[in-house]
Structures are given as C-alpha cells and as structure tokens.
C-alpha cells in the first residue's frame, strides 16, 4: 500500500471536519473520495499534504507513505515529500499557477526546488509535456494564455516530471468542459496504468467516480460512511445516503 490512512481526524476546536478510520491507496490504483461540499473530503487531502495545520486545524492519526509516518514530520522533511513524492492538483488550475511567470519557468523552478539541475529539469519538463500530449511551446506562455484544461494537464505533467508516486486530485475536472474532462480522466488512467501512480480522486460527481475509480469511499459530514470496490458500492449501496447520491446523478437517458 502506497498511502495508508488510519484513524485520521481533522479538528477545528471541537468541530470534526474529517474523520477517516481507514483508507488505503495502492500503487497503480485510483481511489475515489465522494461526497458533497462540506463532507470533509477536501480537508482529508489537506491533511495528507500536511497543510491542514496552516488552516488552524489539529490533525491526529496516522498517514503513512510507503510505511513512513507523515504526521508529526518536521516541516523540512515534509517539504521533501510534499510536491516530490506526493503531488496534488486542484479544482481551479489557474490558481495553482502564479500568473506573473511563464508556465515553463514555474515547472522548472518546482523541479529544481526538488534537487534537479537546470538541464535535467528542462528535459524532464519536456518529456512530461509529451506525456500529457501538450505542445512544448505552451511552456513559454503565461498561465492566462492557457485554457483550464491545458493548465490542468500541465499540473499533471508536473506531477509526472517529479516522478511523484502519489497524486492527490481535488475535484480537478469540476470546472472543466465535459470533453476536456474526458481527456483529463483518460490521462489519469494512463498515469495509473503506465506509471503505477497511486491516485486519490476527490469528487462530488459519482458518475465520474464510477468511470474512473477502482475503489471508492463515500463521505458525509466528515465521516466515511461506506467504502469498497466501486462496482460493488454502486451495484449494491449499503447506505441510504449513497443511494441518494447515486439517484441525483443526471443521466443522458433522462
């Protein structure tokens, strides 16, 4: 298991924002975290990234990457892990890129921060762009000149360039057009199949989760209420809430 979460609790004072008893993400697997806004799914991601503390939350429990405990790690040690071994992409790709810098500069700078030389950084960036089927010349543009879908793919390219083992995706396609979403999801599948990445995919859309994720955990009001192989959970939901979530997904056939 690449990522192991046990008894994770994210608290704001007395308020439990997220409580995950057990969640595993293995290499070459996409696990979905489904729920509405406020269900705690984003908070869980923040906790894994070690960023929940910045928001003022207290985090208890265990988060292990390949057996190494992440909670309680020193900020310096955490920085080596976060971004390098655990990468993340978010709902608003534009907000992940500093608009004042060219995209290529942002990417290579991130790579260099994690120890690569300038030449290595350039090469890896170029290779990664090819992997996400984006033309190299986009690297010389500013974020504002790229579409949402293109930016999201660059964010994924960065994760690839860093040789990240785990990818946390927080509603990465919710703000994208449906055909662009399809492309990004296809890309994520490739990451799972050809690079063996462990992907934790957060979404409120069960249809997307059904198509993409091998396993799914349903969250409600901060708690994980149901977990299992996606097909099983969808075919035979145990909880009423899960049934509700399934029922509200709009279907093409009306």
């Amino acid at each position: 298991m690449k990522l192991q979460i046990r008894d994770l609790r994210v608290l704001f004072g007395d308020h439990v924002a997220a409580s995950v008893a057990a969640l595993d993400v293995g290499a070459g697997e996409i696990v979905g975290l489904a729920g509405e806004s406020g269900s705690g799914k984003s908070m869980t991601i923040q906790a894994v990234l070690g960023l929940a503390g910045t928001a003022g939350a207290t985090v208890t429990g265990s988060i292990k990457l390949d057996g190494t405990e992440l909670t309680g790690m020193s900020p310096a040690a955490l920085r080596a892990v976060r971004g390098r071994r655990i990468a993340a992409i978010f709902q608003s790709p534009a907000s992940a890129f500093n608009p004042v810098f060219r995209v290529g500069v942002i990417v290579t700078r991130a790579l260099r921060l994690h120890g690569l030389s300038a030449a290595e950084a350039r090469d890896r960036a170029a290779a990664a762009m090819r992997s996400v089927l984006l033309p190299q010349e986009l690297l010389s543009r500013y974020p504002a000149q790229l579409s949402g879908g293109q930016l999201q793919r660059v964010a994924i390219a960065l994760a690839i360039a860093l040789r990240a083992e785990v990818l946390l995706a927080d509603e990465p396609t919710s703000a994208l057009d449906v055909t662009v979403q399809a492309e990004v999801l296809e890309l994520l599948r490739e990451l799972r199949d050809t690079r063996g990445m462990a992907i934790l995919f957060v979404s409120h859309d069960l249809a997307v989760i059904a198509e993409l994720c091998d396993r799914v955990a349903i969250m409600r009001s901060g708690q994980v209420i149901e977990q299992g192989r996606t097909q099983e959970v969808i075919a035979a939901p145990q909880q009423d809430y899960t049934r509700e979530l399934l029922a509200v997904v709009p279907r093409l056939d009306g």
């Binding site: 296809e186 409120h204 399934l246 279907r251």
Partner: protein, 326 residues
C-alpha cells in the same frame, strides 16, 4: 409568427471586438411550458447567444422576434417590459446576489420597484421563496449564509418576482454539487410546469438537458452543429461533435457507457475559426470537402437539422473507428 412560437432568433451575429463570437445562429423557442437546450463548450458562444437575446450585449446582425416584436429595436418602456418578460439566471452563484443585502430584501426590492405596496411585499416574498423550494424564514439571511444551491434558488425566486415568461438559464448548476444540482433542476422543472414557463437552458453538460428540454441545439464555435428533439438527437446524433459530446458524459451504469471519442487538439477559440467547417481540424470523420466548404444547416430528417457534410451518414450510424455503435 408561427403558432406557438414565443421567441425566434434568425441568423444572429455577435462580435466581441474583432472576434465573431456568434456566427449566424438561428433558434426557436415555443410558448411554455417548453425548454430548449443550448449545448456547447467554452468558446462556443452559447452564453453570448443568451445575453444577446436579453439585450445585454449588442448584436451585430440578425433578428430576434419576441411575440412578434423586434427585440433588437425595442427602446424605453417596451424594452423595460421585455426585460421583465425575459429573465436571466446566472452561472456565478456567488455573485448573483448582493452580498450586503438580505435575501428577502433583494426580492422585495424588485417588487417595490414595480409598484407593490409595502404591506403586500412580505407575503409575496415568502410565497416566491416557497415556490423556489426555500424556507420563507431564509428571507432574513444574507447570501453567504446560504448554501450554493439555496443561493441559486433564491436568484430564481428573485427572477420570478417580475413574472417572466422566458427564463434564460446560463449554466445554472455548473458551480454546484450533484445534490444541489438536482434540487435546482427539480425546482426549475416544477416552475416550468406550474407557471408555463419557456426555458432556454445553456449548458455544456448534455446530461442535464433531457429532463428539462424538449428541443436541443448544439453549438460549436459560434455556429449551430445540429438541432432537433432532445430524445432523438441524443439517441441518434447527426453531427460528429454531438457524438463526441455524448461519449464524454460520464455514466454511472457501466452498461450505458460508450467508448470515448477523444477529440484531438485543444478547444479552439472563435478568434481562430478555420476555413470550411469550423469543426474540421478536430473531427474524427473529416473528409476533404470539410476543409473548404462551410456546411449549411439543413434538414436531415423530419424535425432534425444538422450542419455537416456527412450528416446523413452519421445519422445512419457512421462512427469513428473504435467507437462503439450507439
């Protein structure tokens, strides 16, 4: 005006500076209860069409007739009346209500401005909120104290305050969770029936169209790709773009999934509209003719129009290699 037709758009053209965002779009919206789905992605010009219809952006050409009147020429009091008859529901749920105004006051203001007596306003506001499936007690709250779905429904309640006949919904659910989305759509469906409304649903998500719209029009780079009754259009598309759109919609039920048609290249902007068919650089069924000749929107079956040189073939079942039939 043909019987039953409320709004008729003919050959609408809208420019954003040097870019022609809408290039000759024609639509028909019937009297309510009725829904027309205008489906397209970023750069398709769908929002612009909606805004042009409401006179929120100037049109560069074409005609828009609302119950016989030339919308583009309306002025003064007639324009005001039209503005009341046709209302817009915004995509931006966070900014469609004044953050410093309580929800009830926002709706009440509309009623007051249109002459309702102070004493009657309170009750009417409560009634409108209930119609939008909101607890009347929410009238005393500020927008940020409501959930996204509630805010959207409050906006709808406000739009209903002027008793519109046409509701233009611009991506009404894109910013919402699936559960909130369902509630908003259900509310609109009910209002449509109760008030006999006509709705123009602008969206990129094909999946929400069937429950609200009898007719659908697919837009690509400012031009109509195809139109027709929703059920038949979705079941047997006559345009390759519709095929791709349909295949991209995620499905919960694995049995219903179609194999993805991934369109090469990124989304195009209207500024770089190619010669010939606007879709040809990305079309999986492109032939030489597509690169030079702009396909005209023509009838390909009763009630079905498509702008594609191979429309009949697509309608008959032609698919890109590798795609599952359907």
């Amino acid at each position: 005006m043909a019987a039953g037709v409320m709004l008729s758009v003919r050959d609408l053209r809208v420019d954003y500076g040097p870019v022609r965002a809408v290039d000759g779009v024609s639509l028909t919206i019937r009297h309510g209860p009725f829904g027309l789905g205008l489906v397209g992605e970023s750069g398709s010009g769908k929002t612009t069409v909606g805004r042009a219809i409401l006179r929120l952006v100037p049109a560069a050409g074409g005609t828009i007739l609302f119950e016989g009147q030339d919308v583009l020429r309306l002025r003064g009091r007639r324009l005001l009346e039209y503005r009341r008859a046709a209302q817009l529901v915004y995509q931006d749920v966070d900014n469609s209500l004044d953050p410093r105004q309580r929800v009830g006051a926002a709706i009440g203001e509309v009623l007051t401005v249109h002459g309702m007596a102070r004493t009657a306003v309170r009750d009417r506001v409560a009634a409108l909120l209930s119609e939008a499936a909101l607890d009347p007690a929410l009238a005393s709250r500020y927008p940020h104290q409501l959930s996204g779905g509630q805010r959207q429904r409050a906006s709808i309640a406000r739009a209903l305050a002027v008793s519109p006949r046409l509701l233009v919904l611009d991506e009404p659910t894109s910013a919402l969770d699936v559960t909130a989305q369902e509630r908003v759509l259900a509310t609109i469906r009910r209002l449509r029936a109760e008030r006999g409304l006509s709705c123009l649903l602008i969206t990129h998500n094909l999946a929400i169209v069937p429950e609200l719209c009898e007719q659908t029009a697919v837009l690509y780079l400012g031009r109509i790709a195809e139109t027709g009754p929703t059920a038949s259009l979705l079941a047997s598309p006559a345009h390759p773009y519709t095929l791709a759109l349909r295949s991209a919609v995620p499905e919960v039920d694995p049995a219903r999934r179609r194999s993805r048609i991934i369109l090469p290249g990124g989304a195009q902007g209207a500024a770089s509209r190619p010669d010939g068919c606007a879709f040809h650089p990305r079309c999986p069924l492109v032939i030489d003719r597509c690169r030079v000749a702009v396909p005209a929107l023509r009838s390909v079956a009763p009630g079905r129009e498509a702008a594609c040189h191979r429309a009949e073939e697509v309608l008959a079942g032609l698919r890109p290699t590798g795609a599952t039939a359907g």
